[in-house]
Structure formats: structure tokens, C-alpha cells
């Protein structure tokens, strides 16, 4: 049990440091940083205070390690959902930009040739 806690704790701390570094270097936007920082914080808290996981595993009937995995898994699902939403939004803005670009390009060509629509 101790090894698991040590392992999870180290992972959480490395994760926390990595997130902090990415924000500092401007490679990660704050809106994602909040998600990642809270993820690593919660994992760290759980590894320091395993009683919390025991409460959860008793309440849900899951084994200790399964409960840990379930917590990880829920976070990953949340992050992936967030990505799907972000990608959808980017596809929409990307499409709008492509269309605007094409319409403006036509306008430029018409101006160059002295045509008016």
C-alpha cells in the first residue's frame, strides 16, 4: 500500500511541477492549467490521505486500487470531453476564417482587375 501511495504522490508532484513550468513558459493556457493543477492537487491529496480513498472504496464497494483508478479515469474522461468541445469550437472558428479568407481573396482579385461586383 505504501508503495502505491509513494508512486502516486511522486507522479502528482511531477505533474504539478510540469504544469507550473508549462504555464510559466507560456505554452499552456490558464484555462487548461486550472484543470490540470486541480487534477494533480487532488491526486496528491489522495496519496497523502489514503483514508479518503478508503471512504470512497467503502461507499462504492470498489477495491482500494480500483478506486484510485476510478478517480484517474474520471479525470481523464473529463479532460477528453473538454478536448472534444475545444476541437469542435476550433473547427467552427477555423471554418469561419477559411470562408472569410476566400471571400476577401475574391474581393482583392476583383479590385486588382478593376471589377466591381
Amino acid at each position: 500500500m505504501f508503495q502505491i501511495r509513494l508512486f502516486v504522490g511522486i507522479v502528482a508532484i511531477l505533474f504539478f511541477i510540469a504544469t507550473f513550468e508549462f504555464i510559466r513558459k507560456g505554452r499552456l493556457r490558464e484555462e487548461y492549467a486550472i484543470l490540470w493543477l486541480s487534477t494533480s492537487s487532488i491526486i496528491a491529496i489522495l496519496s497523502l490521505w489514503p483514508g479518503l480513498v478508503s471512504v470512497l472504496s467503502e461507499a462504492t464497494g470498489l477495491y482500494y486500487i480500483t478506486a484510485v483508478l476510478a478517480i484517474f479515469f474520471s479525470f481523464l474522461i473529463a479532460v477528453l470531453m473538454h478536448y472534444s468541445i475545444t476541437i469542435s469550437k476550433m473547427k467552427e472558428t477555423n471554418k469561419e476564417l477559411i470562408q472569410k479568407c476566400a471571400l476577401l481573396e475574391l474581393r482583392v482579385r476583383d479590385l486588382e482587375h478593376g471589377r466591381s461586383q
Binding site: 471554418k95 477559411i98 470562408q99 479568407c101 476566400a102 471571400l103 481573396e105 475574391l106 461586383q117
Partner: protein, 231 residues
């Protein structure tokens, strides 16, 4: 005719057929203006279209049929056209049928006219395609009371009101059936008229039997969710 009609032709690698379609539209008279949306073709679509005197909008990246047609609606709306007609660049939609779509718009009472190959008998299509069209038609009838038999038809005309709406929001992947539903939900009136359609001369349909099931699932799911959406 003093009204101005934009004939929007989405084209992806249609160098063989595009010129014929444009000539057909030009033969209709001075009120009809051709706008080709070249969806990043790698062939001579733009060259051949410009040689026939069409306005060509070139998308720098391939957007697919929905994004291409929407670009045409945006153009037509910005340039003050009274109606926009969508016509395929592959020669399936005979230009001499365009007035049949446009006239009901100008008579008033309808905002969108869909050209149907199914109202007259005898059009051949694959079993899967026929089944899909029936399912979509059933969906529309059940949830909206709309009676459109050929909801997948890409041969259609819209007035300025709908042009404006579609310029702002238009489905992207398989837009034909879903755009009918969105128009209905927004309070526009849709009518269907019988037209003649030809079989494509070059290239293959974008809908293969393998994609048909995916197509149906996607379209019906999207339409179902639209029922709960604020359009």
C-alpha cells in the same frame, strides 16, 4: 427578369463537367449569376469556370459540401442577391430546371424550394440510398409534419431570408436533410417541386454503400438533437 439570382455551384475536382453547367445557367438569361465555390480542387476547376465567365471563390482548405455551400450563401447575401440556387457541379442538376425552383420563391409564400427527382416516377437509385431517403422523409413527417420526399436533394433554392440564416448557421457534413429541418424549426416554409435530374457523367457519388450506414446514423442523430436545440 429584374431579380438577381445567384447560382451557387460547390465544386471539388469537376474540371470536366463545370463548364457545361455554367453554360447551361448562362443560357437562362441575364438575371442568373454563377458563383463557383472551388473546395480546394487540385484540377482545372477554377480555370475552366473562369473561362466561362463565372465568379470563382477559392477555399484555401477543403471544407466539404456544407462549408462550400455556406460560403456561396454568404457571398450571395453580401452581394444583395434576391435568391440563391444550389446546383451540383457534376452535371446531375440540369440548369434548365432552375427556373422551376426559383419561380415559387418569387410568387411568395415559400422561403425554400427543393427539387425532387422522386415526385415523378422512374429515377433509379441503389436500395440503400432509397431506404435512407425514406427514413429521413419519415423522420421529417413524424416530427415536423413536413412533406419532403427527396430530402437529400442538393438541388434547391432559397430566398434572402433563408440565405441570411444559412450564412450564419449551416450544417457541415451532410447538410441537405438537416438544413431542411433547421429552416422549418426557424419558421421558414419549405416546398418541394418535381424536377428532372440526370445521372452523373464523370466521377463517383461521394456516398458509397459502406458510408451509407454512417451517413444515416449521423444525419438522424444530428436531426434528433436539432429538435431540442434553439435555432
Amino acid at each position: 427578369m429584374d431579380r438577381r439570382v445567384a447560382v451557387v455551384i460547390p465544386a471539388y475536382n469537376e474540371e470536366k463537367s463545370i463548364a457545361g453547367v455554367i453554360r447551361g445557367v448562362k443560357a437562362l438569361g441575364a438575371g442568373y449569376h454563377v458563383v463557383v465555390i472551388n473546395d480546394s480542387s487540385r484540377d482545372g476547376t477554377t480555370r475552366n469556370a473562369e473561362a466561362e465567365g463565372a465568379v470563382v471563390i477559392e477555399l484555401p482548405v477543403n471544407l466539404g459540401i456544407g462549408g462550400a455551400v455556406q460560403t456561396g450563401f454568404k457571398y450571395a447575401f453580401e452581394h444583395g442577391f434576391d435568391a440563391a440556387v444550389q446546383v451540383d457541379g457534376d452535371g446531375q442538376h440540369p440548369p434548365d430546371q432552375i427556373p422551376l425552383l426559383v419561380e415559387p420563391l418569387f410568387e411568395g409564400g415559400v422561403d425554400m424550394v427543393v427539387g425532387s427527382r422522386l415526385l415523378a416516377s422512374g429515377y433509379r437509385m441503389t436500395f440503400m440510398r432509397g431506404l435512407g431517403i425514406r427514413l429521413i422523409s419519415l423522420f421529417l413527417r413524424t416530427f415536423t409534419g413536413m412533406s419532403v420526399r427527396d430530402a437529400t436533394s442538393g438541388f434547391r433554392a432559397v430566398n434572402r431570408g433563408l440565405m441570411n440564416f444559412f450564412a450564419r448557421s449551416y450544417p457541415q457534413d451532410y447538410p441537405e436533410p438537416e438544413s431542411l429541418l433547421l429552416a422549418f424549426l426557424k419558421g421558414f416554409k419549405v416546398a418541394e417541386v418535381s424536377v428532372r435530374m440526370d445521372y452523373r457523367k464523370y466521377g463517383n457519388s461521394s456516398i458509397t454503400p459502406f458510408r451509407a450506414v454512417y451517413y444515416m446514423t449521423k444525419v438522424l442523430l444530428a436531426m434528433f438533437i436539432d429538435l431540442f436545440r434553439e435555432v
